[in-house]
């Protein structure tokens, strides 16, 4: 049976981004219900009960994160929406922002209510020009109809929401770098602890949630935690947007319950692009996650199953590579990405990413040394765990896993003095 779309139920409708269409499909009913029937505490408990885990990459339980806010109320609290979608292979938040902004907006209002915050920020990556315009329009519509501003729907709850545009920096998707950027600075991640829930934006308690996470909060408000917890698998509940890219016939965003088998997902994306080139490997969770060679691709797509399979669901950016793909070339492409996007604050990441590029360039161009595969793994081990933010792991994991799963191909680049697949890769 096909999965009933929940997060994407509106996107195919004409003018799906407008308040009128959203209201006509029952929009903001969840908010009305929660403002009437729930206290902030009881709605926070509801979200905890739903089992919702963050959709940004880490998969941390949302309600538990909210619970880390200090009980004292001597400072304002802030909610920052992480719409800095930048993980290569990920394009799900953009779809929600552009096609159903009110689904996200309702989730923001609900979440702000749960954590008793009255000022929220929507940090959207600078390159999403249309997204920023459309979301601002949704905000304006919401103010005009009393869903934002003072005394929302007569409940006595106040909330202001401000759009903040980034300016082109992958690192600002890391939550503390996002806060620095929002304060008008270079996006250099902060040392944790203190965690943002205690010392966040402007030194105040702050919650940072991903766009898709907040859209899920709307669903919980509409239909309840028990219903939500019934979707997916134990500890991995709810619907999920999967972004399929690379060598498939129909790249795109596909909504499924958490725990959908990877082969089924690839089938929905139309199967392999070239009939004569079988699957070689899949990166299941955005470019920072470990690669699964084809032999290990019979997995189900949820947080715990992919962790057990040696990778991670991450941002659910599913990058598909066929037999024509050179793994060394693919890793070199990513190493260049990480070298460019490293903020430069920590030496292991700043220098390590440069080393990866240098070693992979010489392997790919036929000047590699027999010791290079081991050297890559060695450098990765010195980056992993030695940086302020998870960016270090984001490049160490691909390097370690690509070399481990395709060691023979790296060695072949040395013995053959070049790339056996170069001609195919260039196509």
């Amino acid at each position: 049976m096909p999965f009933e779309p929940l997060l994407t139920r509106n996107i195919a409708k004409p003018a799906s981004e407008t308040l009128e269409v959203y209201l006509a499909s029952g929009g903001y009913q969840g908010l009305r219900r929660v403002l009437k029937e729930f206290t902030p505490e009881s709605f926070l408990e509801e979200v905890k009960t739903s089992g919702l885990r963050g959709r940004g990459g880490a998969g941390f339980p949302t309600g538990v994160k909210w619970g880390f806010l200090p009980k004292t109320r001597d400072k304002p609290r802030y909610l920052c929406v992480n719409a800095d979608e930048s993980e290569p292979g990920t394009f799900k938040d953009r779809l929600l922002i552009e096609k159903d902004p009110h689904l996200v907006l309702e989730g923001i209002i609900l979440s702000a209510y749960a954590i008793e915050c009255h000022t929220a920020f929507f940090y959207i990556r600078g390159e999403f020009h249309a997204g920023a315009r459309l979301f601002q329009r949704a905000i304006d519509e919401a103010y005009a109809r009393g869903f934002l501003g003072g005394n929302i729907l007569g409940s006595g709850f106040d909330l202001d929401l401000i759009v903040y545009r980034g300016a082109g920096a992958y690192i600002c998707g890391e939550e503390t770098a996002l806060l620095e950027s929002l304060e008008g600075k270079r996006g250099l991640p902060r040392i944790k602890p203190p965690f943002p829930a205690v010392v966040g934006l402007y030194g105040c308690p702050t919650i940072i949630n991903n766009v898709e996470t907040l859209a899920n909060v709307t669903l919980i408000a509409e239909r309840g935690a028990a219903w939500f917890a019934g979707i997916g698998r134990p500890r991995n509940t709810g619907p999920k947007l999967f972004c399929v890219s690379g060598h498939v016939k129909r790249p795109g965003v596909y909504e499924e319950a958490l725990g959908v088998p990877l082969p089924q997902l690839l089938e929905r994306a139309g199967g392999m692009l070239h009939p004569d080139r079988p699957l070689k490997a899949v990166v299941p969770g955005g470019s920072s996650m470990k690669i699964l060679p084809a032999a290990n691709c019979d997995v189900v797509m949820d947080f715990d199953s992919l962790a057990a399979a040696g990778s991670s669901l991450g941002s659910a950016g599913v990058i598909v590579m066929d037999s024509g793909t050179c793994i060394v070339w693919a890793l070199l492409n990513l190493a260049r990405f990480y070298a460019h996007e490293s903020c430069g604050q920590c030496t292991p990441c700043r220098e390590g990413t440069g080393w990866f590029v240098k070693i992979l360039e010489r392997l790919e161009s036929g000047r590699g040394m027999a010791s290079d595969p081991a050297l890559l793994v060695d450098v990765a081990g010195r980056v992993e765990g030695n940086t302020i933010c998870p960016f270090g792991e984001a490049i160490a994991w691909p390097v370690q896993s690509y070399v481990k799963a395709f060691r023979g191909e790296f060695e072949e680049h040395v013995t053959r003095r070049g790339c056996p697949l170069m001609a195919v890769a260039a196509r």
């Binding site: 394009f91 020009h129 249309a130 300016a167 082109g168 008008g184 600075k185 270079r186 690379g246 492409n333």
Partner: protein
């Protein structure tokens, strides 16, 4: 003293300064406003915005140089940003780059002599479902092949 930005942008920045709990947060939106008007951020504009926001000019330069979208010098009227990251590379962005270079007669990082086009490669633009793709000013185009590139270039004034 003449301002390095127009009166409209100056007023817009004054409004931006009232928007945030802390003044410093106005810096990125103010820089975006300047770039929208001027196309790039000059040294004079950095000194000006530093005074507005209440930080040092060197702090502003640090911020401008950190974010890839802030231009230090004028780009082409049509600024072509071609995504080069893995999902686009798997779908042949290398070939598309070569075609842009051939058609425009410039290399990656260059600008046509008439100032009409500039061409750069950028990292993942979060639009991998339409790979290979470009963003030209604030519009996205994809999936591209050689014929579509020709049609797009012909359509731009």
């Amino acid at each position: 003293m003449t301002l390095p930005v127009g009166a409209g942008t100056d007023r817009r920045i004054d409004e931006i300064l009232t928007r945030f709990p802390r003044r410093g947060s106005a810096l990125l939106p103010a820089l975006h406003a300047i770039q929208e008007e001027k196309g790039f951020i000059s040294e004079e504009a950095m000194v000006y915005v530093a005074g507005k926001v209440g930080v040092s000019p060197s702090f502003v330069e640090g911020v401008v140089s950190f974010y890839t979208m802030f231009q230090r010098r004028p780009v082409g009227r049509h600024h072509i940003q071609l995504c080069r990251t893995l999902p686009c590379a798997l779908r042949g962005c290398g070939r598309i780059l070569e075609h842009f270079e051939r058609r425009l007669g410039i290399r990656e990082g260059g600008k046509t002599p008439d100032g009409k086009f500039s061409l750069v490669t950028v990292e993942c633009l979060g639009t991998c479902d339409t790979a290979p793709m470009v963003q030209i000013n604030d519009r996205e185009y994809g999936p591209l092949d050689e014929a579509k590139v020709d049609a797009i270039l012909a359509s731009l004034e």
